[in-house]
């Protein structure tokens, strides 16, 4: 019997990529959506199978067309990429399942097949990055996912999305170019693009200066794409004016993929080869992470538009992920990787709940949702649960991340204490901005003219609750993300002295 499971890494990319043109051809209403859901769920199933394989100790390495690496194209999946794949495909599936009605109202009917095709391309590009094992394919997938997500963001009726997406496009292109410059420099010095090969060959390079420059370009380029403070300016408006369901998808995974890549390059490729790289990495990113956590949280506190509020909160949460990594310890990286998973769950559920609200209220400013909980108790219940997870209340996933982050900081001595204070303060700010929304919805005066007529449609509500309950489940039984994250952290750190 042929062991078909060895082909899983390739299928992970091929399924959504080949479904994209298919969706384009399906003209009758709803079929394109159904095809997109089917492809996305299929990718999700593949990601789950890959995860099961990884947990069982398998290492997926796949040579396209049996051409051996480093000459052929190599694909590979380890614990870290499996976790990221789960996040991407899961977010895409939930968003699509929830989003039929919401997208019907956001996207004109004749454009829907195009939209779903773009969605599947974005999905293919995003899953391609963690699967690919060489720097140039990663670049190609990055471009596919970026171009497709510009289309997704600008695809709605809101014309304000156009300037937002233009800004995103400009900054995204600069980021990608920086990355390409870095790769070019390394290629010049080593003559290889395969990451594993690159790691070995950099040893042989006598002059480290170009490699150092390459490391700078790649780190900054990816930081731009990952919306690391202060390179986050493209993110808030892009998230705010995108169609609601697109925000769910992108907020859950788009920046995470760039963070994944950032960690992979810095820890796999540069760490073993550059003298003092860990110290530079830490000194460069830790202040940025702390600033992100504090400043972006404060901005969120004074923001009145719900989607922009949580977009700024995303910038702060990216700070948490970076803060864990900048500690350069197993505990810190575990916290960092676990938070990629947990934040996707919390933010995904929050934006789903916001999409539920949007089906019934006219605007998404705080005053629009005043008293909404009286009419939409289930929506706001899910919102509250996801909000608590964002704050980090025990019993939810957010607590697991904070726990690992604080324990990592605790091991760092006096700097650690300062970091813990920053974490606690920003958690309290998070509590305050989540509370502001809850307060408006639960205690605000209900306006008879603009108040929602009733609960959101059952379909989107069910998906929202699945996401919200996942926050509870992985908060009480976190072994899956924690196992993946700690094994990812250990493999990332194998070169650190």
């Amino acid at each position: 019997m042929i062991d078909w499971s060895v082909h899983l890494p390739a299928l992970q990319v091929i399924v959504p990529m080949l479904s994209a043109p298919l969706a384009l051809l399906l003209r009758p209403r709803g079929l394109a959506w159904a095809a997109a859901v089917a492809a996305s769920l299929f990718s999700f199933a593949i990601a789950i199978m890959l995860t099961i394989g990884v947990l069982a100790g398998r290492n997926f390495n796949y040579q396209m067309g049996n051409w051996p690496a480093p000459y052929g194209i190599e694909l590979g999946v380890d614990a870290f990429s499996a976790l990221v794949l789960l996040v991407i495909t899961g977010a895409s599936s939930l968003a699509l399942l929830a989003g039929r009605r919401s997208l019907d109202s956001d996207i004109e009917e004749e454009r829907q097949p195009l939209f779903y095709a773009a969605w599947l391309l974005a999905l293919a590009g995003l899953v391609g990055i963690p699967v690919a094992a060489d720097a140039f394919n990663i670049f190609v997938f990055m471009e596919i996912s970026s171009l497709a997500s510009y289309v997704l963001i600008a695809g709605g009726r809101d014309r304000r999305a156009l300037p937002a997406v233009f800004k995103y496009l400009m900054m995204g292109t600069i980021g990608a170019t920086f990355y390409l410059i870095g790769i070019g420099l390394i290629y010049l010095m080593t003559g290889t693009l395969n990451l594993a090969d690159m790691e070995l060959r950099i040893h042989e390079v006598a002059d480290q200066k170009p490699i150092l420059v390459a490391a700078g370009f790649i780190t900054i380029g990816l930081a731009l794409k990952a919306a690391v403070f202060p390179l986050h300016v493209w993110l808030p408006n892009a998230y705010t004016y995108a169609p609601n369901v697109v925000t769910v998808f992108l907020a859950a995974c788009a920046t995470k993929v760039s963070l994944y890549l950032l960690l992979r390059f810095d820890f796999f490729v540069f760490q073993p080869n550059l003298v003092g790289h860990d110290v530079q990495f830490s000194y460069f990113l830790m202040p940025l992470a702390v600033l992100a956590i504090l400043i972006a949280s404060c901005v969120a506190l004074f923001e009145k538009n719900l989607k922009r509020l949580f977009a700024y909160s995303s910038v702060a949460q990216i700070g948490y992920i970076l803060l864990g990594a900048s500690l350069v310890s197993v505990a810190g990286l575990t916290a960092s990787v676990v938070h990629i998973f947990n934040h996707a769950l919390a933010k995904g559920a929050l934006f789903l709940a916001i999409a539920c609200l949007a089906t019934r209220v006219s605007g998404l400013r705080l005053e629009n949702i005043s008293g909404a909980a009286q009419r939409m108790p289930w929506t706001m219940g899910a919102f509250a649960l996801a909000g608590f997870s964002l704050v980090g209340i025990p019993g939810t996933t957010g607590f697991i991340s904070k726990w690992y982050l604080i324990s990592a900081a605790f091991a760092e001595g006096s700097i650690g204490v300062a970091l813990i204070v920053a974490i606690v303060i920003s958690s309290l700010i998070a509590l305050a901005y989540v509370w502001r929304v809850l307060e408006a919805a639960y205690f605000g005066d209900i306006n008879v003219n603009t108040a929602p007529a009733g609960e959101a449609p059952a379909g989107i509500l069910t998906v929202t609750w699945i996401a919200a309950l996942a926050n509870l489940y992985f908060g009480l039984a976190p072994s899956l993300p924690v196992t993946l994250a700690s094994s990812a952290a250990e493999s990332l750190l194998r070169h650190v002295p």
Partner: protein, 489 residues
């Protein structure tokens, strides 16, 4: 039933009951109330069934899941938790009887929702009582806050919702902002959060950090209502009286003082805290709260608000006893939780009965009411005497132990506070008793009413009888609680 199963049954019963109440409500109101009473009785039977093993020195325990390394969801029964669970489950039966009379007598709306959340709140209370570590305790602490919110906001009008907002806002922000950091701090310093006889912090923490951690705990546990985090309690009085009676005189507020006491005894350890001067402030803050709350109570004209401030004072009284940090005083603190529970629930029951029968809420309206509602006012009198600490009521027993502890520690501030608070309690309770029994009726008011519904009167008679009985039969309880301090080396 093995005792570890019994713990899980005690936790699950109220939740199953809540489900049963929701289903039974479709059949009829009598069936629904039947399910409530049945659940309450089954819970009390299960909890009290654990008592013999505890008296024999056993510590049944059960662990459910390990969430993170060293952080478990686990339960165990020790004397303080046993006392709290036994008290709450017993009074839930009485309170359910009372609720039937009160809710029907006042034709309250949403009665099914009321009974469902009441059951969930009791489930959370059991979780707090039996929690084996700080993490588990915190989960149920938050569940209790959230499940009581719909009960406080029951009426649903603007004023009620505003008060409920204060309630939720204070309890959530203090627990997340102060208690949670304290818990995480404890885990990282001590490597564990399990309640252990003698404490877990000795040798791990010293100097001002001890006082700071204690502060995070005491003010983070907002349910203990130590000033200045007491404002939620008067706000919660907008709830229907059965909620004020069981939850805001027994379950919720006792969850607060219970948690603080448990932290002092099992996390810090009384000897460690006694030797550490930076924790000494607790005595002064609680003593201040006792006096200040009594003075404020003196100035209230609304009966339920007066009782709320009296509760604030009594809660700090328990904490002050715990803060004396001497064995006899710790026993006194535990005994006072019980004595105060019996007395205060009686007082609230009486206030609710007066409201149901006559719609009177203010103290000055109570002139001569004793002749129209003799059972209610007799019970009220007994409850009030217990608050003051007059024999033969339960309040005397606990004052005795606390005073003994204060003398043992030669703590003159505590002694002075006890004396002063007794005088203040007398000053605000005795006038009511006088008005009710000896003042002539105010003819301008609508006075044509009799006793409250039978169920309500029955309930308050039972609790008044318990208040008296506790004076005579407190031996087993004292023996049980003595285990806490004997266990401390």
């Amino acid at each position: 039933m093995s005792s570890s199963t019994a713990i899980l049954v005690a936790l699950a019963l109220p939740l199953v009951g809540a489900l049963g109440i929701a289903l039974a409500a479709r059949i009829g109101n009598n069936v629904r109330e039947g399910v409530t009473l049945l659940t309450a009785s089954a819970l009390a039977w299960t909890v009290w069934g654990l008592l013999p093993e505890l008296m024999a020195g056993g510590r049944p325990a059960v662990s459910l899941a390990e969430v993170l390394p060293g952080v478990e969801i686990a339960f165990s029964v020790e004397p303080l938790g046993m006392l709290f669970a036994a008290l709450a489950s017993l009074l839930w039966i009485v309170n359910s009887i009372y609720s039937i009379g009160y809710m029907r007598g006042n034709r309250e709306s949403h009665q099914t929702r009321f009974y469902i959340f009441f059951a969930i709140a009791l489930g959370a209370t059991m979780g707090i009582a039996f929690a084996d570590n700080l993490f588990t305790l915190f989960l149920f602490y938050e569940l209790l806050t959230l499940s009581t919110y719909p009960l406080v906001a029951h009426k649903g009008d603007a004023k009620t919702v505003q008060s409920a907002r204060t309630y939720l806002g204070i309890l959530l922000t203090t627990s997340i902002g102060l208690l949670l950091p304290a818990i995480i701090w404890t885990y990282f310093v001590a490597g564990t959060g399990t309640f252990t006889a003698g404490g877990i912090l000795a040798g791990k923490l010293e100097g001002p950090a001890v006082g700071l951690l204690l502060g995070l705990f005491v003010f983070g546990i907002g349910k203990a209502a130590v000033m200045p985090v007491h404002r939620w309690l008067p706000a919660a009085m907008v709830a229907p009286t059965p909620v004020s009676a069981l939850l805001h005189a027994v379950a919720v507020v006792k969850a607060g003082v219970f948690t603080v006491t448990k932290v002092i005894v099992y996390i810090f350890g009384i000897d460690f805290l006694f030797a550490e001067p930076s924790g000494g402030w607790l005595l002064y803050v609680t003593a201040f709260t006792v006096i200040a709350a009594s003075v404020v109570a003196l100035r209230q004209s609304n009966l339920k608000r007066m009782l709320a401030y009296s509760t604030i004072g009594q809660l700090s009284f328990v904490l002050m006893a715990a803060a004396i940090l001497k064995p006899l005083a710790e026993i006194g603190a535990a005994v006072h939780m019980v004595a105060h529970a019996f007395g205060k629930i009686t007082l609230f029951f009486a206030a609710g009965a007066i409201y149901t029968a006559s719609k009177k809420t203010e103290i000055f309206q109570l002139r001569g009411i004793g002749h129209r509602m003799p059972w209610t006012m007799t019970a009220f009198t007994i409850g009030a005497l217990s608050m003051i600490g007059v024999p033969p009521t339960g309040g005397f027993v606990s004052k005795w132990y606390i005073l003994a502890g204060a003398f043992q520690a030669e703590n003159y501030i505590a002694i002075a506070t006890i004396v002063l608070s007794t005088a203040l309690n007398a000053a605000y309770f005795l006038p009511i008793i006088y008005l009710a029994w000896f003042a002539p009726e105010d003819k301008t008011l609508q006075n044509e009413h009799g006793e409250a519904p039978f169920a309500a009167v029955l309930a308050l008679t039972i609790t008044a009888a318990l208040t008296l009985a506790f004076f005579f039969f407190n031996g087993p309880l004292v023996l049980l609680e003595a285990q806490i301090v004997q266990a401390t080396p």
